[in-house]
């Protein structure tokens, strides 16, 4: 086991730890948008750590280009997915005021 493989497997372990935290917290949080906030961690940071670990353990190899392509695809498409799901939630459910408190400044504006 080389040093690069060791560093790569530590980074991948951190990413997988984040994945476990995300899966547990998806069960614990109460509202859809909170859960989407948590799954964004899995989509960006955990994926970055796992792919970085994979690239390091491969060493200097042409496969790293493929890994960069997959990571770029994931990072470009995931915000669009989140945006679409939030739009759906806003259009369908419509009780966002129960879960999201307005800012204090807005309340003052409404009162005056």
């Amino acid at each position: 086991m080389t040093v690069l493989e060791l560093i790569g497997s530590i980074l991948m372990g951190l990413g997988i730890l984040l994945m476990v935290i995300v899966v547990i917290s998806v069960f614990r949080l109460g509202f859809v948008i909170n859960r989407m906030h948590v799954t964004a961690i899995a989509d960006t940071l955990a994926t970055l750590l796992i792919f970085l670990g994979g690239a390091l353990s491969e060493g200097l190899h042409w496969v790293n280009l493929k890994l960069i392509l997959i990571l770029a695809l994931q990072w470009f498409t995931v915000p669009v997915c989140g945006h679409m799901i939030t739009q759906l939630e806003y259009a369908v459910v419509g009780d966002l005021e129960e879960h999201c408190k307005p800012l204090p400044e807005d309340e003052k504006g409404e009162e005056s």
């Binding site: 994945m19 994979g54 679409m84 369908v92």
Partner: protein, 97 residues
């Protein structure tokens, strides 16, 4: 040693996949399920990478590229379709009143 570590990671990721599937099954709302589908696609993306390192077969990573695009398409199409249908239903209800 490296292969054994990858094996442990694969086991942890498969437990996470089972948890995400359970979340989809027990959730009541449609958007919850879409969030679960998104989470499962991310988990599978990472599982395929770990699997390719475990088997030392980098050609499996081609599946990863296709999977990233397909999961994006699935979520976007499903949410768009449901949103259009729900808005049409709301419009119909408003006219009826």
């Amino acid at each position: 040693m490296f292969q054994q570590i990858m094996q442990v990671y694969l086991i942890i990721l498969s437990v996470c996949l089972a948890g995400a599937l359970l979340y989809i099954v027990i959730s009541k709302h449609f958007t919850d399920r879409l969030v679960g589908v998104n989470l499962i696609s991310t988990l599978i993306l990472n599982t395929i990478l770990v699997l390719s390192l475990f088997l030392d077969a980098t050609s499996i990573l081609d599946i990863d590229i296709v999977y990233a695009l397909l999961s994006f398409q699935a979520v976007v199409v499903l949410s768009r379709l449901l949103r259009v249908r729900m808005l049409a239903q709301k419009k119909k209800g408003g006219k009826g009143k």
